[in-house]
C-alpha cells in the first residue's frame, strides 16, 4: 500500500506539471472535496463497526488531548531548530511550524507580514503534507501507531485521516480526528501569536 500511495502522489504531480492545463485547477479542488467526503464516510463506517464510539472516547480519557499538544510542541520546537540552522528569525520559524501542515491558512496569515514568509510557510506546509502522506505507513509500522498521527499535524482530521485509518486501527483514527480538529483550531491563534513576538 505504501508504494501505491507514493506512486499515486508522484504520478499526480507529474500529470499536473506536464499534462493538464492550469485552467483545470478550479475543478480539481471540487474533486478533492468530493473524494475526501467519500473517504471520510468510509472511515466513519470502519469506526462505527467497532462499537460504541462515545464510551471509547470517554474510556480513553483526557490523556488523548496530550497527542495534539505534543504534536504542536514538537512541530514548533522542530521548526525553531531548523530556523537556527537556516538563520531564519526564531519567531518566524515558529510561526511557520505552527501552520501544522495547514498550508493555505498559515500562508495567508504570514503573507500579511511578508510575501516571502507567506511563500515559505506555504511550501513548507505543502511539503509537510506530502512527506506525511508518504511516511505515515512507515511510521505506523516501525515506530508506532500513535506516532503515525504526528507527521499529519492539522491534516489528521481530513486529508491524511484515511491513510492513518488504513494503516492503524479505529481507536487511533478517532484520536487522529480529535487531534486534527484541535490543531486546526490552534493554527489561526498560534501563528499570529508568534508574529507578535518580535
Amino acid at each position: 500500500m505504501t508504494t501505491k500511495i507514493i506512486f499515486s502522489v508522484i504520478l499526480g504531480i507529474i500529470t499536473g506539471i506536464f499534462i493538464l492545463p492550469e485552467t483545470m485547477a478550479g475543478h480539481i479542488g471540487i474533486m478533492i472535496d468530493i473524494g475526501l467526503c467519500l473517504l471520510l464516510f468510509f472511515v466513519g463506517i470502519d469506526i462505527g463497526k467497532q462499537g460504541d464510539i462515545f464510551s471509547k472516547i470517554k474510556d480513553m480519557g483526557i490523556k488523548i488531548i496530550l497527542v495534539p499538544i505534543m504534536i504542536g510542541l514538537g512541530s514548533i520546537v522542530g521548526a525553531m531548530l531548523a530556523g537556527i540552522l537556516l538563520k531564519i528569525p526564531l519567531n518566524q520559524a515558529g510561526a511557520i511550524g505552527a501552520g501544522f501542515g495547514w498550508y493555505s491558512l498559515s500562508a495567508i496569515e504570514l503573507s500579511k507580514y511578508s510575501s516571502k514568509l507567506g511563500a515559505l510557510a506555504f511550501i513548507t506546509n505543502v511539503s509537510r503534507e506530502v512527506i506525511a502522506i508518504m511516511i505515515i505507513p512507515f511510521v505506523a509500522k516501525y515506530i508506532g501507531k500513535l506516532e503515525s498521527i504526528a507527521p499529519a499535524g492539522a491534516t489528521a482530521m481530513d486529508t491524511t485521516l484515511p491513510i492513518i485509518s488504513s494503516v492503524t486501527d479505529s481507536d487511533v483514527a478517532i484520536i487522529s480526528f480529535i487531534s486534527g480538529v484541535i490543531l486546526s483550531a490552534a493554527v489561526p491563534i498560534i501563528v499570529p501569536m508568534f508574529m507578535m513576538i518580535s
Binding site: I47, L120, I131
Partner: protein, 99 residues
C-alpha cells in the same frame, strides 16, 4: 469545507457502520473501495500540486529551506508523541483487554 462537515460525514458513516445497515456484499467490498478511493484522491492531490505554477516556482527558490523545516517539524512531533504514547496507549490496551 470545515471540520463540522467532516464530523457530520464521519458520524453518518459511523452510524451506518454501528447499525450494520449495509448488506454483506457491500460490507466485504468497503475496504477495497476505500483503498481505490484513497489512491485516486492522492493522485488528484498530486495533480493539484503539479498544476499550480506557484508551487513549482516557489519550490525552485525556497524548496531546500522548506524541506528542512518540514522534516524538522515532522521528526520532532514524532519524538514528542513518542514521549507520551505509552501513557496514552497503556490505557487503551487496558480497555481492549477489559473488552
Amino acid at each position: 469545507m470545515n471540520f463540522l462537515i467532516y464530523l457530520i460525514i464521519l458520524a453518518l458513516g459511523g452510524y451506518i457502520g454501528y447499525k450494520d445497515i449495509l448488506n454483506d456484499f457491500v460490507n466485504k467490498r468497503i475496504a477495497i473501495m476505500q483503498n481505490y478511493a484513497l489512491l485516486f484522491i492522492l493522485f488528484i492531490m498530486g495533480i493539484s500540486l503539479g498544476i499550480d505554477n506557484h508551487v513549482i516556482e516557489y519550490f525552485a527558490t525556497i524548496g531546500y529551506q522548506s524541506i528542512v523545516i518540514a522534516l524538522f517539524t515532522i521528526i520532532f512531533s514524532i519524538l514528542f508523541v513518542k514521549l507520551i504514547s505509552k501513557k496514552v496507549l497503556q490505557r487503551e490496551e487496558r480497555i481492549t483487554n477489559d473488552n
